[in-house]
């Protein structure tokens, strides 16, 4: 078996607030291979968001080992985390987080600014990414002129444009109606078939079933890790 893209060993995460210690994750271990489409599912307060923040280099572990591409990344500091985010990770958020009054093209090209990719190249890559999500006809539209589904597609284009190793989607359908939600989920499936590694955080069973592997988490621990279920590709009810 090749070196996994992500490998967690006994991850613990505690938050200290006014001397009160809240333990959010206690002993989480799993591995994710390159090219997987994984859903991390759990109710609110289960620790799934914290887990994603750690995996996405937005937060660090309290104890345990996080290996990324075989390298121990558990003890990275602020700037190293920022470099990992810019080089390795693309994020898709529940509330899209596009820059307001800014063109679709500029929004998609934004992460590449921090990677010091020259403007001309940024434009080419951003247009390519927008073509993948089917918005290449709206390059100059402003972000606030788009519908919710279109905004999330722009956000997906932004996440994939820099060609990161992994895409994190945090409740990507949470602000969308069912139909556009399905469109977005199918887009992830499509990206997956093209070889992208995707980790999606969700509290919805039906959304999770679009992924090929579902890790369920509750009270900071993994309660199941399933593959081989019948994958959804169509309409679901919330």
């Amino acid at each position: 078996m090749p070196t996994p893209l992500i490998k967690l060993k006994d991850i613990h995460k505690d938050y200290v607030n006014d001397d009160v210690v809240t333990s959010v994750l206690h002993g989480v271990s799993f591995a994710i291979q390159e090219g997987e489409f994984v859903a991390i599912m759990g109710p609110s307060g289960s620790g799934k968001s914290t887990l994603m923040h750690i995996l996405g280099f937005l937060d660090t572990v309290s104890s345990g080992v996080y290996q990324f591409k075989g390298q121990d990344v558990s003890r990275l500091v602020d700037d190293q985390l920022a470099i990992m985010r810019r080089k390795e990770v693309g994020f898709v958020f529940q509330s899209f987080n596009l820059l307001p009054r800014t063109s679709v093209l500029e929004n998609v090209a934004l992460p590449m600014i921090y990677d010091q990719i020259p403007e001309a190249e940024r434009k080419v890559l951003a247009e390519k990414a927008l073509k993948i999500v089917g918005l290449d006809h709206r390059l100059e539209h402003l972000s606030n002129q788009l519908s919710g589904g279109e905004r999330q597609r722009v956000a997906i284009a932004r996440a994939v444009a820099g060609n990161p190793s992994i895409i994190f989607a945090d409740e990507p359908t949470g602000n969308l109606d069912t139909r556009t939600g399905v469109e977005v989920l199918k887009m992830f499936q499509e990206l997956h078939t093209k070889g992208r590694t995707i980790i999606m955080i969700t509290h919805e069973q039906e959304a999770a079933e679009f992924a090929e592997r579902i890790i369920s988490i509750r009270d900071g621990q993994i309660i199941s890790d399933r593959t081989g279920h019948k994958r959804r590709t169509d309409r679901y009810t919330k």
Partner: protein
């Protein structure tokens, strides 16, 4: 992040909030504009006075009453008037001067029939025109017999003559100063201003008549003497002090100016004093300007803090896609600096424009007013504005840079 991208992203966010950006920099604009305007007015005024002093000629000595050396400490509020016509005669006798003129100044009502004006009155003698040359429009100037004879004759400034007599030649007619009648013997041609005094509205009479009949005094306000061309002015100054001490019976072998009851100065002394006044004025204006720039800077800081709070999610997003603390700091600092730089440039333009307007207006009242644009202030203005941007932009930028990306992304 490349420099180019840093600047373009700052430009974009400033342009995205045009009216707010404009309001933000208003303080800086006004601050810089007022610095330039004030310095321009200061320099122009100083230049005007200096040019008028220079016009007098570098060979003039002024002798006035003084309790000690007026440049060595604060001036005494009560100065005994100690200079007399005898002093003038004594100075004439030295043979160092081509002309010596004693001058007594006062104000009173000047009237002719129904017309009446409040005017400056100059008591002068026949040597006056050798010190302050002027042309006569009508009639003649005072002769030595007018002075010695205590005659009640007068020479009018052009505008005053116009106000009292209209366009006609008033020589031979009567005017009253207070209740005493004087015969008009001449009218000066247009003279303009000297030291912000409009000479054309003044009235001149023999100094002897003024002392005896008008004021009942035996002193004069000051004596002006023009040195001969082969006389060294510093030597002349010392000689004048000698003569004056002799006249006033002052025992002062140490030549201590503080013991004298008079003070001798030359044109270059006057220029020095004006220079000192000018620098104090500049210092004063600069401190006011500095205060206004600090206030402007606080305005920038306020708005930047609001902007950071408002854009918390944007900052969270930028961090999540890989911006380092340093890059966030740079971005917000660049915005602040760019804002204040724009403010500085607009302020400089506004300052120049208002200086030009002021100069045009001032020229109506003061013919010799010349427009000065302080180039150093322009450079300094833009630099200071930029400095203010850095100084007051750091704190908001640090706040932005230190935001936790997770918290920032959740911010509503």
């Amino acid at each position: 992040m490349l420099w180019k991208d840093l600047i373009s992203s700052s430009t974009v966010s400033i342009r995205r909030n045009k009216s707010r950006s404009a309001l933000t920099i208003l303080g800086i604009v006004i601050g810089i504009a007022s610095v330039i305007l004030m310095l321009s007015i200061g320099q122009s005024a100083e230049g005007l006075i200096l040019s008028q002093v220079a016009d007098l000629g570098s060979d003039l000595l002024f002798v006035e009453a003084s309790a000690g050396d007026p440049t060595s400490g604060p001036p005494s509020p009560f100065v005994e008037q100690t200079i007399t016509l005898d002093d003038q005669k004594a100075l004439e006798k030295t043979g160092m001067f081509t002309a010596v003129s004693a001058i007594l100044v006062s104000t009173n009502t000047v009237s002719h029939e129904q017309e009446s004006q409040f005017a400056s009155i100059n008591g002068i003698n026949e040597g006056y025109l050798d010190i302050f040359p002027a042309d006569l429009l009508y009639g003649r100037f005072f002769s030595s017999s007018d002075i010695e004879g205590y005659t009640k004759v007068t020479v009018l400034g052009k505008d005053l003559a116009n106000d009292l007599f209209g366009q006609q030649d008033p020589t031979g007619m009567k005017v009253k100063i207070g209740s005493i009648a004087f015969r008009v013997i001449g009218v000066f041609d247009e003279q303009g201003t000297r030291f912000f005094q409009d000479l054309d509205t003044q009235i001149s009479i023999p100094i002897t008549t003024m002392q005896a009949d008008l004021m009942g005094v035996d002193y004069v306000s000051y004596i002006v003497a023009r040195a001969k061309s082969d006389v060294d002015l510093d030597y002349a100054k010392d000689e004048v002090r000698f003569v004056m001490r002799d006249e006033h019976n002052i025992d002062n072998p140490q030549r201590d100016l503080d013991l004298d009851d008079f003070y001798v100065s030359s044109q270059s002394d006057a220029e020095d004093i004006i220079g000192v006044v000018g620098s104090v004025l500049t210092l004063l204006l600069s401190s006011i300007a500095a205060i206004s720039l600090v206030v402007g800077g606080i305005g920038i800081m306020n708005i930047m803090l609001v902007s950071v709070t408002e854009r918390t999610r944007e900052i969270g997003l930028r961090k999540s896609i890989g911006a380092t603390k340093r890059e966030i700091l740079q971005q917000f600092l660049a915005e602040a600096v760019l804002l204040t730089m724009i403010g500085g440039i607009v302020g400089v333009l506004g300052g120049i424009l208002s200086s030009v307007v002021i100069a045009i207006v001032a020229k109506f009242f003061l013919d010799d007013w010349a427009l000065h644009i302080p180039v150093s202030a322009i450079v300094l203005g833009v630099l200071v504005a930029t400095g203010v941007g850095i100084a007051f932009g750091v704190y908001p930028a640090k706040r932005a840079a230190n935001l936790d990306p997770i918290e920032a992304l959740r911010y509503e």
